[in-house]
Symmetry: C2
Subunit: 139 residues, 2 copies
């Protein structure tokens, strides 16, 4: 599992199409085409093949919670992001991992938004400028 | 070497402070505190320890050129980005690699901007929505 966490003033995505790359991608059902959040920790996350989901999601959610406490913005956006590794988990496993991440963040009383898995999206992101505003984690 | 390439409508960074993390970071001299570019391929690049600079920069610049041709936007922003790996090259080596990347991109007649190495920055990025708008490369 790999993740890049950003402390964001603003975050916006709009789905522009379903991913077609690779025949193993199964997209989630689209409920909302657009997602927007202000003053939050935005976590771009890649689930890798052979990740121990229970273990790595716990470590990741602890790091996200820490960044929320550091920045005093107790809101998170989970962004499924297939671009931090070439060793991707199967879609079904990845979606299960994102379910677990969402549950664990909500259990920490963090307001949690979740972006769509399996689509091409436009993206607008505005990151605050300060030390520790961007953090890489690999588990 | 790891890189994430984004096809961007707009990109903006402003330096807010020099990096203090780790005593091995040697920041470049600041010439411009702000950098802005529209309609470009923005390459967030992490130089890793033991990278074969000549070899990996050639592969990366070929990928960047390909993305410029695919998107018909022949402009590149090189962003030194320490958040795609935990195995970072020393600052001096990394800066040398960014010099080589810049030279190679300019030799391909791509308009090339280069962001500052060794600072905390605010960031605004607006990514076009289409297949292949974000690409991960690892060499």
């Amino acid at each position: 599992m790999k993740a890049v966490l950003y402390h964001c003033r603003n975050f916006q995505t709009v789905i522009t199409g379903l991913s077609t790359r690779g025949n193993k991608i199964t997209s989630e059902q689209i409920i909302n085409r657009a997602l927007q959040a202000t003053n939050s920790v935005v976590a771009f996350i890649t689930i890798e093949d052979q990740d121990n989901i229970e273990f790595t999601t716990t470590l990741l959610c602890d790091e996200i919670e820490k960044m929320c406490l550091d920045t005093k913005h107790l809101q998170v956006v989970i962004v499924p992001f297939a671009h931090l590794s070439n060793n991707l988990a199967k879609a079904k496993e990845a979606i299960r991992a994102f379910d677990v991440i969402q549950e664990k963040l909500e259990a920490k009383n963090l307001i949690t938004h979740r972006d769509h898995f399996g689509s091409d999206k436009s993206l607008k992101i505005e990151v605050f400028g300060h030390a520790g505003n961007v953090r890489f984690r690999s588990f």
